[in-house]
């Protein structure tokens, strides 16, 4: 079931189309990654979904409620962190949560403590937010967005400025929320490797237009992979490989010979090189990352 439906949404500022007829859906229980270079319109789109920015054209539906016409009903299903989780520094973590809890009906004190437990802030929740580390603020931000059991969770650059442990923590939380609580999660980021690990599906936005929406599996993985071979006679090796596997597009890249092969072809290559008296020091698989795909897709658009 589509929890978030974005239909032909445009945003015009000073006569300029910042977002141009954007349409996509996000399903229950899925983590949707929103990817794009800086200034592509990720944040603008997210702000339109949560109602911080007016929608110039088109509409957004959250659980069948229009954000444009029925803001309060639509937004009650959303929990969000927009950019950095800015909290009231002079209040304790608990009072920050209490503040937001009071703004939605039916959030009890027990619920607050339950969420605090979930994000692992129980020990420090009565300390002033001023004393929190960035990771703790991020967790408090997450707690704030989960208070009312939203159906949609929207996080704008959730891993910004976090250390690897913090990033991992957020990632695990998101996966768990999508899987166990059937939430639809929308994450925007420019950290491509992160998106690869976090998301089920990825939408690439560029210049205010949606360029591509794909499952991460399809996006990254194909049966042929790039292998790098470290050998002593590179030129000679390359010649042999090119001769036998012309479709591999083998090239010399720094110290390696790189080419696209299937797994089954590797033993044959090794045998050939050994017979030609070339020493092999290593063979590595270079998985094609989201980054490469991303640059491919966005680069293609530019041409």
């Amino acid at each position: 079931m589509s929890v978030v439906e974005i239909k032909n949404v445009s945003k015009i500022i000073n006569g300029k189309r910042i977002i141009d007829s954007l349409s996509f859906n996000v399903e229950e229980g899925e983590v949707f990654g929103f990817l794009g270079p800086n200034g592509a319109g990720k944040t603008t789109t997210i702000r339109m979904i949560v109602g911080l920015i007016d929608i110039s054209d088109g509409d957004i539906y959250i659980c069948q409620q229009s954000v444009k016409k029925n803001f309060e009903k639509a937004v009650q299903h959303i929990g969000a962190i927009v950019e950095n989780p800015e909290m009231y520094k002079f209040l304790s973590g608990y009072h920050n949560l209490l503040h937001y809890a009071r703004m939605t009906k039916g959030v009890t004190k027990e619920k607050i403590m339950e969420v605090v437990e979930l994000v692992g802030l129980t020990d420090r929740i009565y300390d002033k937010v001023r004393t929190y580390s960035l990771g703790m603020r991020q967790r408090l931000g997450l707690a704030q967005s989960l208070l009312h059991d939203p159906k949609v969770l929207i996080l704008d650059e959730p891993t910004n400025g976090l250390d690897p442990a913090g990033i991992r923590e957020i990632r695990d939380h998101l996966r768990m929320l999508a899987r166990d609580r059937k939430m639809a999660v929308i994450v925007s980021s420019h950290l491509l490797s992160e998106m690869e690990m976090m998301c089920d599906r990825i939408g690439i936005i560029q210049g205010g237009k949606l360029v591509d929406v794909q499952l991460v599996k399809d996006f990254v993985g194909t049966s042929e992979k790039i292998y790098a071979l470290e050998v002593n006679k590179k030129e000679h090796g390359l010649e042999i490989i090119r001769e036998k596997f012309p479709q591999s597009q083998a090239v010399i890249n720094h110290l390696h010979i790189e080419g696209t092969f299937s797994k089954e072809e590797i033993p044959a290559i090794v045998r050939m090189l050994v017979e030609a008296d070339i020493n092999i020091y290593s063979i590595k698989e270079i998985s094609k990352t989201l980054e490469d795909r991303f640059l491919e897709v966005t680069g293609r658009e530019e041409q």
């Binding site: 949560v50 920015i53 950019e83 800015e86 520094k89 503040h99 937001y100 009071r102 703004m103």
Partner: protein
């Protein structure tokens, strides 16, 4: 709505600056109290048995003055008022021999309303602008609550905060006045003069009214600061403009009023409603109704601007 107001109230009181404000206000009352007490020892009120004779002489003097045809209108009004009040005292046997008491002290410390106004303006100037500066506005506006309600709750909180400061001022003055100067031995009324007649008014009612009228400019300036804060998202600007106008507004208006008729449409020509009960209007021909209408118009204008801009604004920063 109550929950929203509780939130705003919490955000005001959990900052130490607010506590300091209340402290300063209480200290200022204490300073005035100590100063007055110290001064009072020098000039004890004489137990004048012959007070009636005294004010009769006073009236004679005033009447002499009134014969002068070149006397400015303001002085004429002042003398007429004093004569009427004195005659009323003689008729109704209300002695002038009253010691300085807690009531007088409360009346004196009503000067500090401008200090309370200053603090309220500072809070009002920050209540919207700070949310933008802190970046918390984003998390505040993505709740299932309309922006109008959020802004309204902020304004109501400001009004409550202003009232709270006035109450602090009133009660601290009352307590301190009672301790330092004592309560009057017998209650005596306040004599009010308007349109040539004298009326007796209960002292507490008079003091409340006094505070109320003095608070009108505080209300208007606070509303203005709130509007500037909302429209320009800049608390310094809101504080600066409002405080500048608080101190300079009525002086500047007075200067303009002596030359131009249209000065009566300026906000500050209308904030002091006591003029219509105890004095002369800034521009002749102005009436109480005119001023009240002007005040309401300004009030609505400020609110219209604040709510319109707040509802339309794209939160992009």
């Amino acid at each position: 709505m109550t929950q929203l107001i509780r939130n705003e109230w919490m955000k005001i009181w959990r900052r130490s600056a607010t506590i300091v404000m209340v402290g300063i206000l209480a200290l200022a009352v204490a300073a005035i109290g100590v100063f007055t007490k110290y001064q009072e020892n020098g000039l004890t009120v004489p137990d004048n048995e012959d007070w009636k004779h005294g004010i009769e002489l006073e009236n004679k003097g005033y009447k002499e003055q009134l014969k002068d045809e070149n006397l400015p209108e303001e002085s004429v009004n002042y003398y007429k008022k004093q004569i009427a009040l004195n005659e009323y005292r003689i008729q109704h046997n209300i002695s002038t021999n009253t010691d300085y008491s807690a009531w007088d002290f409360i009346s004196d410390s009503s000067q500090l309303i401008s200090l309370a106004a200053l603090f309220t303006i500072i809070i009002a100037a920050g209540i919207v602008a700070n949310e933008f500066t802190w970046g918390t506005i984003k998390l505040l506006l993505i709740r299932p609550i309309s922006r109008t309600k959020i802004l309204l709750s902020k304004y109501i909180t400001i009004i409550l905060f202003g009232l709270f400061l006035l109450m602090v001022l009133f009660f601290v003055s009352f307590l301190l006045g009672a301790v330092l100067f004592g309560l009057p031995k017998e209650s005596y009324p306040y004599l009010a003069y308007s349109n040539g007649t004298v009326k007796e008014i209960n002292m507490i009612v008079h003091l409340m009214a006094d505070y109320g009228f003095n608070s009108i400019s505080m209300l208007m300036l606070t509303t203005m600061a709130f509007m500037i804060s909302t429209v320009f998202r800049n608390s310094s600007l809101a504080i600066g403009v409002s405080i500048f106008l608080m101190f300079m507004g009525s002086t500047a208006t007075m200067l303009l009023a002596s030359r131009f008729e249209w000065a009566k449409y300026i906000l500050f020509a209308n904030t002091d409603l006591l003029r219509y009960f105890d004095g002369v209007p800034m521009v002749s021909g102005m009436t109480l109704t005119f001023s009240v209408v002007m005040l309401i118009l300004y009030f609505c204008l400020f609110h219209f601007l604040a709510f319109f801009v707040f509802n339309k604004r794209d939160v992009a920063a």
